[in-house]
């Protein structure tokens, strides 16, 4: 006799959990997401070893950072979404204060004022990467969606305030990403398609205004994108060398640690922003497609978690975190392949450097928390 639908569901739920799954549950971790992230990080460490010129010290450095980031993820996974939501406004306001502080007293590095030293050195903009979508989701949580126009304006304010502060540092790349994470919340909340199209049309004069606000080096990057070969030894050098690296990798690549562009230092920023080009050169099209597939798996799992989430806040936040992660991947790979201007955005979880990795992993911790703190199946 065939099982009824209810019987089938109940039987499935009754299937015994094995020890590993149970341990993951207890730690509030999501198996598929964790697996995907670990695969990306593992892949990343392999590529990074080659990209830092087989420098063991630098490589171990990155391994330690990854460990710290995983701890951050674990901690974030323990915080229940409900608790997180209640503390969201305070996190957001605290982040704004710190950003303002950065502009006044921050440490200068490479022509920009991004760091704050309060016992530990950190970039307050990192907090905002999570605090902005959290705040937008918080605002919409108990309001009906799709939001009304006035509500959208308020969310726009929530987004614009930190974005402007960060752009003033100046850190255009991070500012754009943070704005994107907030806008994604609005879009997911059901912003009307008509309005979106209207905004897209408005973005043309907006781009003109933005152009006038841009620093010369930022304008140069845009111009360079449009015609890299006009200045092969100047601003166009990075893009040209990056394209040569990727293109010369072909289908299968030149072999791990054998990329002449990367190893002979023709490729600039080979272990940070341009690490994707190292991968393209040494591991070929198959290598980069494998990595992109892993990224997409993580994004898909994040969106699945968002759909499964039980509260509006959790849903919007989870969706924003997942899609912002995609934006990271897209902007970096598009930049390295010469599709968009060079903006200083690292390849997530692969590029050398720790701060952004901790934030990213904390974000994934929140995703896991959202998924594992659900009340299972409304009885």
């Amino acid at each position: 006799m065939p099982l009824t639908e209810t019987q089938r569901v109940l039987t499935a739920k009754a299937a015994p959990l094995n020890d590993f799954t149970r341990a993951l549950r207890r730690l509030h971790l999501d198996g598929p997401l964790l697996g995907g992230l670990l695969l990306i990080c593992g892949f990343g460490l392999v590529v990074l070893y080659s990209a830092v010129g087989e420098n063991m010290r630098l490589w171990l450095n990155q391994v330690v950072r990854l460990g710290v980031a995983l701890v951050a993820m674990l901690v974030a996974a323990q915080i229940s979404p409900e608790f997180l939501r209640r503390w969201t406004p305070w996190a957001y306001l605290g982040g704004l204060v710190l950003l303002a502080l950065v502009l006044v007293t921050g440490e200068v590095g490479q022509g920009a004022r991004r760091w704050l030293d309060l016992g530990i050195r950190f970039q307050p903009s990192e907090i905002m990467k999570l605090a902005v979508p959290m705040m937008a989701a918080w605002y919409l949580h108990d309001r009906p969606i799709p939001p009304r126009f006035s509500q959208i304006m308020i969310i726009a304010l929530i987004i614009v305030a930190p974005t402007v502060l960060i752009a003033r540092q100046p850190d255009l790349g991070t500012a754009l990403l943070i704005a994107a994470s907030g806008i994604i919340v609005i879009i997911l909340a059901g912003l009307s398609i008509r309005l979106m199209l209207a905004l897209a049309v408005l973005s043309v004069p907006g781009a003109y205004v933005l152009w006038n606000f841009m620093q010369d080096y930022q304008k140069q990057r845009v111009l360079t994108l449009l015609d890299a070969d006009s200045d092969p030894l100047g601003a166009g050098y990075n893009i040209i060398q990056s394209k040569i690296a990727i293109g010369s990798g072909g289908l299968f690549g030149k072999g791990w640690t054998n990329g002449s562009q990367a190893q002979l230092e023709f490729l600039p920023e080979r272990d940070t922003d341009f690490i994707f080009a190292v991968m393209g050169e040494e591991l070929g099209l198959l290598g980069v497609l494998s990595l992109l597939a892993l990224y997409m798996f993580v994004v898909a799992r994040g969106l699945y978690i968002a759909i499964q989430a039980h509260s509006s806040y959790a849903r919007l936040l989870a969706g924003s975190i997942s899609l912002t992660f995609f934006v990271y991947v897209f902007v970096n790979t598009a930049m390295v392949t010469g599709l968009v201007p060079v903006v200083g955005i690292p390849l997530p979880l692969v590029s050398f450097g720790g701060t952004s990795m901790v934030t990213l992993m904390a974000g994934f911790g929140i995703l896991m928390s959202i998924h594992t703190h659900r009340k299972l199946l409304p009885q």
């Binding site: 009906p144 879009i187 002979l264 599709l339």
Partner: protein, 631 residues
């Protein structure tokens, strides 16, 4: 919660959300598709293009200089070779403290303390990874010193390279010449692709005139470099693809000179302590057997590189060691032209065998009072043309001079090659001067100076006045006397050899226009008289030639020194020394079957027969194999 707010519809909200997730996913997929399409474009469709550009990025072509041809003397003895030498180098970017490093190297006497500012300047200009040569040639002791100290000098190392070396040093300096550092003006004249990688080029002598044969052709090899242009060993990086094929350099040809090292050495020793020149040649081929200019210098100084002070010392030496007197020194030929003038006089009928003159030691032109003196104040007594040559009687030639006339003198002397470059295969030759009326008209601006005077013909007949000749010209003229008019272009290089195949090419003698006489017996007269100069009972050089086992012919000459450069300071003894007459001698032997013709000039040597003749005799003895007793 605000009770007035619209009621949240959980299910419709979730539906909206899912709808938006689908929408954004589609959008994201499109973006991802763009990136993937771009990757496919770069890595599949444009792969060849980028693969080539990546190769071009890191492969540099480095020139490999060819090995310079060797130079041998006529017996195969090495005159110029390439020796490995150790060069001390410094790579600026690897040196922590440049000043301290240079000071310490100077303290160990590995570099000259005086060179420190120059070396510092060199190290600070140019690419930081490019080695700077500190010392071009370390001697054995320095190599040992540095080998021990090497760990203390980061960024300093020694490297072997080939350095031109002249084992015979100053014996052959003026004949073979030397190589020196390639200058920018050299590069303008040379084919840059052929000289890529070459650091030295021939500056003088054979090294200069046979540069294109000696140099060979540069090859090239491919090297892997990084973005900053620094070389990366291809093996260590395990860069998979094979490099394009290298092109081996083609070595330069080896040269065999007609020069005989023994004669060079002998003549150099004979001129030791004097200023002068010796040129010896084979009259039947034009092959130059010896080409010596004294004082000489060590050509290795130029090949290795010398200090500023060493170079200044050479340049400022008042004996002019760098000056090649043999081809560039012009001297009044003095009485050495008398045999040729005697031929002119006999041929033109200005004199004949019967004509005799009583020489009282003085000659005056008709209707004038100026007294032209013979070198022998008491006179030679009664002389004919034979005696006039053998005893070098000036009065005899004074008397017939205006009967020959300056233009016919010019004509005959020119036939012997005087007054024009001989065409020797060493550049820088001077043409000397044989005056004529025509010449004087052109040479002077002032009409009063343009007229030719009879008195000028008188002194021209003893090789004084305007007349000038190089030792090389005198040697070629002597050779023409020896062969009774058959003339060859003088030539130092006898053959060249391809070092790879061993194939030799012989230089063929270049025969010039003969000196043709109406009456060939005039040769016998003049050559007989020249024989008497050396072996006759009253010959001026009988002290040199008498008793020799072979017959030789010669002619002495003494040339007045007209001026001493005004700006040079001499002490009184110096002045006296430098105002002495130049001593000249030309000779050939054996008379019946001439094998060698020689011209010798000893500056301020006073006596042609006393000082220059013994040198000519020694050279002939050596070459003809009679040197045991003579030397």
């Amino acid at each position: 919660m605000d009770l007035l707010s619209p009621i949240k519809d959980r299910y419709s909200e979730r539906r909206i959300f899912i709808g938006r997730v689908v929408l954004t996913s589609v959008f994201a997929t499109v973006l991802l598709g763009l990136v993937i399409a771009r990757l496919v474009q770069l890595q599949v469709f444009d792969y060849e293009h980028f693969a080539e550009r990546s190769l071009g990025n890191r492969i540099r072509i480095e020139a490999v200089p060819p090995i310079r041809g060797l130079v041998f003397d006529r017996q195969g003895r090495v005159l110029a070779e390439n020796l490995p030498a150790y060069q001390l180098e410094l790579i600026p970017e690897q040196v922590p403290d440049l000043d301290a490093t240079l000071q310490r190297l100077a303290a160990l006497e590995l570099i000259n303390a005086s060179d420190i500012p120059r070396l510092k300047d060199l190290s600070q200009s140019g690419p930081r990874f490019k080695p700077v040569a500190l010392n071009l040639r370390l001697d054995d002791e320095q190599i040992a010193t540095f080998a021990i100290q090497r760990p203390r000098f980061s960024g300093v190392d020694f490297r072997p390279r080939l350095v031109r070396h002249y084992p015979q040093g100053e014996y052959i300096a003026h004949a073979v010449g030397y190589v020196g550092a390639l200058s920018t003006s050299d590069l303008e004249k040379l084919d840059p692709s052929r000289y890529a990688g070459t650091t030295q080029t021939g500056k003088t002598g054979i090294e200069n005139s046979y540069e294109s044969l000696l140099h060979g052709y540069s090859g090239y090899r491919h090297i892997v470099t990084n973005a900053r242009g620094r070389r990366v060993p291809a093996e260590s990086r395990d860069l998979k693809e094979t490099l394009p094929t290298d092109e081996q350099p083609t070595p330069g040809d080896n040269l065999y000179l007609s020069i005989d090292l023994d004669l060079q050495a002998l003549a150099t020793r004979k001129l030791a302590g004097r200023r002068g020149a010796v040129v010896a040649m084979d009259p039947w081929s034009g092959e130059v057997l010896a080409l010596v200019s004294a004082p000489s210098f060590d050509p290795n100084l130029f090949a290795v590189g010398m200090s500023q002070s060493q170079f200044q010392a050479l340049q400022q030496d008042t004996d002019l060691p760098l000056f090649n007197r043999a081809v560039r020194g012009t001297y009044p030929p003095g009485s050495t032209i008398k045999p040729m003038l005697a031929l002119a006089a006999l041929e033109t009928g200005a004199t004949n065998l019967e004509r005799r003159t009583v020489c009282y030691g003085v000659f005056m032109l008709p209707n004038t009072t100026h007294r032209y003196r013979d070198w022998k104040p008491e006179g030679h007594g009664e002389v004919d043309v034979h005696d006039a040559i053998a005893q070098s009687c000036d009065v005899y030639f004074y008397e017939i001079s205006n009967e020959i006339g300056i233009d016919r003198m010019h004509d005959y002397l020119s036939r012997f090659g005087l007054g024009a470059t001989t065409g020797l295969d060493v550049v820088g030759e001077r043409p000397g001067l044989v005056p004529s009326k025509e010449w004087k008209r052109r040479a002077f601006r002032n009409p009063a100076d343009q007229r030719w005077f009879q008195g000028e013909t008188v002194i021209a007949s003893i090789g004084q006045g305007y007349m000038l000749a190089t030792p090389l010209q005198l040697a070629t003229a002597t050779a023409a006397l020896a062969t009774r008019g058959v003339r060859y272009e003088p030539r130092i290089v006898a053959a060249w050899e391809n070092p790879l195949t061993g194939e030799r090419t012989l230089a063929s003698p270049v025969r010039l226009d003969d000196v043709e006489l109406e009456n060939d017996s005039n040769w016998d007269t003049v050559i007989g008289a020249m024989n008497s100069v050396m072996q006759g009972s009253r010959g001026t050089a009988r002290a040199v030639g008498t008793g020799a086992p072979y017959r030789m012919a010669g002619k002495s000459g003494t040339a007045q020194v007209f001026s001493v450069a005004q700006d040079e300071e001499y002490d009184e003894e110096e002045i006296e020394e430098r105002l002495k007459d130049h001593a000249l001698f030309i000779a050939f032997a054996p008379v019946d079957n001439p094998k060698i013709a020689v011209a010798v000039i000893v500056e301020n040597g006073s006596s042609g027969s006393g000082v220059a003749a013994p040198i000519a005799k020694a050279v002939m003895d050596k070459y003809l194999g009679y040197d045991d007793a003579a030397d």
